[in-house]
Symmetry: C2
Subunit: 195 residues, 2 copies
Amino acid sequence: MSRRLEILRRATEIFNDQGVSRTTFEDIANAVGIKREAIYYYFKGRGDILAEIILPQSTALLANLRHIIRSDMSSPEKLRAAIESHVSSFNPSYLEMTIALREDHFVTKDEKLKELRRVWAEYSDLWTGLVEEGQGNGSFKNSVDPKMAAFGILGMCNWMSRWFHPGKGLSLPDIADTFSILVGEGLIEDKKKPS
Amino acid sequence: MSRRLEILRRATEIFNDQGVSRTTFEDIANAVGIKREAIYYYFKGRGDILAEIILPQSTALLANLRHIIRSDMSSPEKLRAAIESHVSSFNPSYLEMTIALREDHFVTKDEKLKELRRVWAEYSDLWTGLVEEGQGNGSFKNSVDPKMAAFGILGMCNWMSRWFHPGKGLSLPDIADTFSILVGEGLIEDKKKPS
């Protein structure tokens, strides 16, 4: 494994264990077994490392959502596929999603995180578009604000970064299934719904 | 204003501005205009201050949910009332909710935060109970896992700590309304639902 890759791997583990904001360059250097100064040869700062860890996963998630939206599925099918895509990115093999979401990285103004912010903004806009499309073709209720609905669904999934532990409780497909029913069909039995 | 209260007020502002994990005792002392050592007269550490800021709001939220659950409302009405109670706690006059949720404070093992963890665990259990009650009396769908449904709804609301800015976008009652429709009745128009 290259030194650069090793730094990224160790940083991913430490970020996941103790949180990004509590991790120093020193911590990462110690874990790799090199001097703090040596990391600067590869990365300019913590934001650099963080962006490199998170960005590929976020970009993949964005590309996946684009495919779903452009497909010929119905809007309810797209909704389910988009939830499945998002929830399954909490795959136990990847710590990226938890690291990306558990903390608010945009509290600091880091240049390197700008690209990440752009990807997430586009992702969130696509979600709003998915809801609007369904409202436009009569599949989704017009009584909800599309952006708030998108933010709500994303929040539901993103909050997993705070409680989901791979191997404990339900599996990712089961969670995606519950979330899809919850926001798609709703919790209330049809006969009990206010008309 | 007492010195103690002033420390709490300033700490609340700084926690909100720059995040708890990035705030030192030094920062709080500077904002109050006293020496770092002087704060120790009132508080043992940052966790102490944090717990004192967050706990009253969290305890009030818990008490409110208990009232809702014990009331004679129907399960769908309880669901809506519980969402309204949670969402309205992001009231612009209070920064507590954002501070409480934006970061994961349990990354560190702070004794003082134990009580907070207990309150949140009970709150989350009550939410699961609300869903189970509705499933038991035939108001809610049995096809969803009650705990995952509760976690999903709470996540939807809690994620507001990452995007909600008072005065921008929809009001809290409008957000509560959208979220209630979303998870109660579901996004999909009834005639389009899979049967």
